[in-house]
C-alpha cells in the first residue's frame, strides 16, 4: 500500500456507513464532483447545440441542487429528497423534448444517493425501475425509437441499461463495505471484551489471591507481637482489606454480563433460557444501540430481573420487551400479563429496590406500574448522551 491513498482506498471507509459517513469530506467531494461534472458536460453539450434560454435555467438546477445537498446533510439523507431530485431531473429530460438530452447525465447522478444508502435488494428494484422508467420516457417523450436509425436504437439501449448498471454496482459496493465495517466493529468489540475478561481474570485469580494470602499472614501476627507493633499490624491489615475492596469494585466493572453483545441480544438469549424453563412466551421487539459497559450491565440486570419476576412471581404467559429510541433516550419496556404486583411487598423482596438502585447508578429512570389491562409494566429510560454514569 502506497502512502498516497488511492480512490479505491478512500472509498471503503467513507461509504461503509452511509448514515454518518456521507458527512465525510472525501465521499462528499466525490459525490459533488460527479454531479457537477454531469451538469457541466450537459451544459457544454447544450451550449454547443445553440444555448436555448430554457436549457440554461434547467442547468442552473444542477449547480444549485449540488450546493444545497452538500450544505445540508439532514436533507441529503431523506428519501423524499432523493425522490424529488429524481423526479425533477427526469422531468428535465422530458421537458427538453428528446430522450438523448444532456440532462440524462444529471438524472443518472441523482441515482447515486439512494443507490449507496438503500439495502441491496431495494437498490436493484430501483435500478430496474429506473431503466424501465427511462424506456417509457423515451417512447412517450422523445422521438419514437421505431422510427430511429440503428445508431439511435443502440444509444437508447445504452441509455436504458446504464441506470441499472450504475445503481446495482454502487449498491453492491456500498453493501459490501457496510458488511465489512460491521464485521470490523464486531471484531473490535469482541477483542475489547476478551481483553477485559483477561484483565478481570488476572485481577481475581492472581492479584486478589495474593492479597488474601498477605492479609492472612499479617492478621496472624495479631496478639503475637509486642504492644507497640500491634498498631502496625492492625493498620497494615486495614490497608489490605481496603485494597481488596477496591479490587472488587474494579472487577465488578470489568465483568459485564453482556459479554460483548448488545443489550437486546444479551436479553434475547436470557429470555430464551428463561422461556425454556417456564414455558412462557417472551417477545422482544426492536434493537438497543451500543451502550457503555457499565450502563449496559446495569440495564441488563434490571431487565433480566424484571423478566425473572414476571416468570416466577407473576405466572405470566406472555412477556413483551420493547426497545425504542426517543428524545435521546433508550426506552426499554417490559410488559407481562401476569397477576401484577402484590399490593403489599413481601418482606425481603429487595429485587425492586435493587432495580431502582441500579437505575439510579446509571442515571436512568425506572417506573413500575400496573397497566389497566392487568399485569405489570416496567419502563426504563436510559439517557444515551452520558459517558458512563457513576459507579
Amino acid at each position: 500500500m502506497g502512502t498516497r491513498p488511492s480512490l479505491g482506498q478512500l472509498l471503503p471507509a467513507r461509504i461503509a456507513r452511509p448514515s454518518d459517513a456521507d458527512d465525510d469530506g472525501a465521499w462528499l467531494l466525490l459525490f459533488a464532483g460527479g454531479r457537477l461534472a454531469a451538469t457541466l458536460i450537459g451544459f457544454a453539450l447544450v451550449a454547443w447545440a445553440g444555448f436555448p434560454a430554457a436549457n440554461s435555467v434547467l442547468l442552473l438546477y444542477g449547480l444549485l441542487s449540488t450546493i444545497i445537498l452538500v450544505a445540508l446533510p439532514g436533507l441529503r439523507r431523506r428519501p423524499e429528497t432523493w425522490a424529488a431530485d429524481y423526479v425533477v431531473t427526469l422531468s428535465f429530460v422530458l421537458i427538453s423534448g428528446d430522450w438523448r438530452s444532456p440532462f440524462y447525465l444529471l438524472w443518472l447522478a441523482s441515482l447515486a444517493l439512494p443507490a449507496t444508502a438503500l439495502p441491496a435488494r431495494r437498490a436493484i428494484v430501483l435500478g430496474a425501475g429506473s431503466s424501465v422508467a427511462y424506456l417509457a420516457l423515451a417512447i412517450i417523450g422523445g422521438p419514437v425509437p421505431g422510427r430511429l436509425q440503428l445508431i439511435s436504437t443502440e444509444t437508447l439501449a445504452i441509455h436504458v441499461s446504464l441506470p441499472f448498471m450504475l445503481v446495482v454496482s454502487l449498491a453492491y459496493a456500498a453493501e459490501a463495505l457496510r458488511r465489512l465495517s460491521a464485521e470490523r466493529s464486531a471484531r473490535e468489540r469482541l477483542a475489547i471484551e476478551s481483553e477485559r475478561r483477561r484483565i478481570a481474570w488476572e485481577l481475581h485469580d492472581s492479584a486478589k489471591q495474593r492479597l488474601h494470602a498477605a492479609h492472612l499472614l499479617v492478621t496472624s501476627l495479631r496478639g503475637r507481637v509486642p504492644e507497640p507493633l500491634e498498631l502496625v499490624v492492625s493498620r497494615a491489615s486495614i490497608e489490605l482489606e481496603s485494597a481488596a475492596a477496591d479490587m472488587d469494585t474494579s472487577l465488578a466493572e470489568l465483568r459485564s454480563p453482556l459479554e460483548g453483545r448488545r443489550l437486546d441480544e444479551a436479553l434475547r438469549s436470557r429470555a430464551f433460557e428463561l422461556g425454556a424453563i417456564a414455558q412462557t412466551e417472551i417477545r422482544l421487539n426492536g434493537q438497543a444501540p451500543e451502550l457503555p459497559p457499565l450502563v449496559g450491565a446495569h440495564a441488563y440486570r434490571i431487565a433480566s430481573e424484571a423478566l425473572t419476576n414476571a416468570l416466577r412471581h407473576a405466572d405470566a404467559s406472555l412477556v413483551e420487551v420493547n426497545f425504542s429510541r426517543r428524545d435521546g433516550n433508550l426506552h426499554v419496556s417490559i410488559l407481562d400479563d401476569g397477576r401484577g404486583l402484590p399490593t403489599e411487598l413481601r418482606p425481603g423482596a429487595n429485587g425492586l429496590v435493587a432495580m431502582e438502585n441500579r437505575a439510579d447508578t446509571i442515571g436512568a429512570r425506572l417506573t413500575i406500574g400496573r397497566p389497566p389491562g392487568g399485569g405489570t409494566l416496567i419502563k426504563l429510560d436510559i439517557p444515551l448522551d452520558h459517558t458512563g454514569g457513576h459507579p
Binding site: T219, E241, R312
Partner: protein, 191 residues
C-alpha cells in the same frame, strides 16, 4: 493436633495458608492440592485430614460438587468452603453439599483458626438459611426436587430421604449433584 489440607488453585494462597496455619499452635498444615482429581484424592487418602479448606471457585471444577464428594468419603473430613465471595446465597447450596462451614477469604487469621477449631470439634457452623433465602432459592429449584431439598436442609440423611421418596441413595446423590449445578448457575457470576 488438627490436621488441615488446603485445596486451592492458587500457589500464593496455598503458601500463605501454609505459613499461617503452621504458626498456630494446635493446627498443622497436612498438605495441599490444586483441586485436580489426580492430586486431591491421593492426598485425601494418604493424609486423612481432619479439615479440608476448599476453594469455592476452582478452575477445573466446582468447589461445592467436590465438597459433596469429599463428604461421601469414610471417614469424611470437615469441609470449610473458602470463598473469595462468600455471599449469603452460598449458604443453601453449601448446606446441601454438606459443607461444615463457609468462610470468606478476606477474614483475619484469628477467625480462620476459630472456624477450623469449631468444625474440628464437630460444631455445625453453617447457620440455617433464612426464610428470604429459601424463598429465593425456591425459584431455582425444580418442582420435583423441592421435597428432597427440604428434607436434606432439615437435616435428614440421604438414606432416610431415599426411603421416604422411594428411591436409592445413589439416585439421591445424583439429584443433589444436579441441584448443586443448577444452583451454581444462578449464583452471582463472580466466584
Amino acid at each position: 493436633m488438627i490436621r488441615v489440607i488446603v485445596v486451592d488453585d492458587h500457589p500464593a494462597l496455598r503458601a500463605g495458608l501454609h505459613t499461617v496455619l503452621d504458626s498456630e499452635p494446635g493446627i498443622a498444615y497436612a498438605g495441599e492440592s490444586n483441586g485436580s482429581e489426580e492430586s486431591l484424592w491421593p492426598l485425601l487418602h494418604r493424609v486423612e485430614p481432619d479439615i479440608a479448606l476448599l476453594d469455592y471457585h476452582l478452575p477445573k471444577g466446582d468447589g461445592l460438587q467436590l465438597c459433596y464428594r469429599i463428604k461421601q468419603q469414610v471417614p469424611a473430613p470437615g469441609v470449610i468452603i473458602f470463598s473469595a465471595y462468600a455471599s449469603p446465597e452460598l449458604l443453601l447450596p453449601a448446606r446441601l453439599a454438606k459443607a461444615d462451614g463457609v468462610l470468606n477469604k478476606g477474614v483475619a487469621a484469628r477467625e480462620l483458626f476459630e472456624t477450623i477449631r469449631g468444625v474440628a470439634a464437630g460444631e455445625g457452623l453453617l447457620a440455617p438459611p433464612s426464610a428470604a433465602l429459601l424463598h429465593e432459592a425456591h425459584a431455582h429449584i425444580a418442582q420435583e426436587d423441592r421435597a428432597l431439598v427440604g428434607m436434606l436442609l432439615d437435616g435428614a440423611g440421604e438414606a432416610e430421604a431415599a426411603r421416604t421418596l422411594g428411591t436409592t441413595v445413589s439416585d439421591v446423590r445424583h439429584s443433589v449433584q444436579r441441584i448443586l449445578s443448577t444452583l451454581r448457575q444462578s449464583a452471582p457470576v463472580a466466584g
